[in-house]
């Protein structure tokens, strides 16, 4: 069972996907300098009404094993300690402990 931070992150990911196209459309209008300022302002106000989790920057890649938010090896989606444990158990393909 994932911990609460992971659950919140999953929720954020779902909301981002659901609102992405609408957000992009409003962004296009708001940032388009060829459109009248009133229209652009209205679009910006609409952008502000979106859910706080609908921004793609609220999504954070967390360790899928422990839910830790820092020290994530992005190639494996694991935090550094879980990466070490799994690598030493030989559960990660092509990963070998260095020794020279």
């Amino acid at each position: 069972m994932p911990n609460v931070r992971v659950l919140r992150d999953i929720k954020a990911r779902d909301i981002v996907r659901a609102n992405e196209i609408a957000r992009r459309a409003y962004l296009y209008v708001a940032r388009n300098q060829t459109l009248p300022p009133q229209v652009r302002h209205q679009a910006q106000l609409q952008l502000n009404t979106f859910d706080r989790y609908s921004r793609p920057t609220t999504v954070k890649n967390r360790c899928y094993e422990t839910g830790r938010g820092r020290g994530i090896m992005s190639e494996f989606g694991l935090c550094r300690f879980q990466f070490r444990l799994k690598a030493l158990h030989g559960e990660l393909n092509g990963v070998k402990k260095a020794s020279w």
Binding site: N32, N61, G77
Partner: protein, 107 residues
């Protein structure tokens, strides 16, 4: 010695180049917001980050005829019952404001 090219000729060349290569002619560099439409959508790959977990209670609710037993959940409910018997259960929900612990004096 270099031939002098008129600026008007250069702008005409630029406009023609844009028409040929199907790029938008934007000599003043004004922001059109096109980059928000051009970017790929990030949602679909974001949703796929965490591996799918099998939710046993959800499956049990969907297919009641299978009579699945979620042992972890059964154990948890059993533990709660045992704690209640020993008088260690969660307190009753306050019905009025006076009953709530927040307003009552701290011990």
């Amino acid at each position: 010695m270099s031939a002098v090219v008129l600026p008007s000729r250069l702008t005409a060349l630029n406009r023609l180049r844009c028409a040929i290569f199907q790029t938008s002619y934007n000599p003043t560099g004004i922001r059109t917001g096109a980059k928000y439409l051009r970017k790929r959508l990030r949602g679909p790959s974001m949703v796929r980050y965490y591996p799918q977990e099998i939710n046993l209670s959800q499956i049990a609710r969907q297919y009641p005829e299978l009579e699945l037993v979620n042992e972890i959940e059964e154990q948890r409910l059993q533990d709660v019952e045992d704690r209640k018997k020993r008088g260690k259960g969660a307190p009753k929900k306050a019905k009025t404001k006076d009953e709530s612990r927040r307003t009552s004096k701290r011990r």
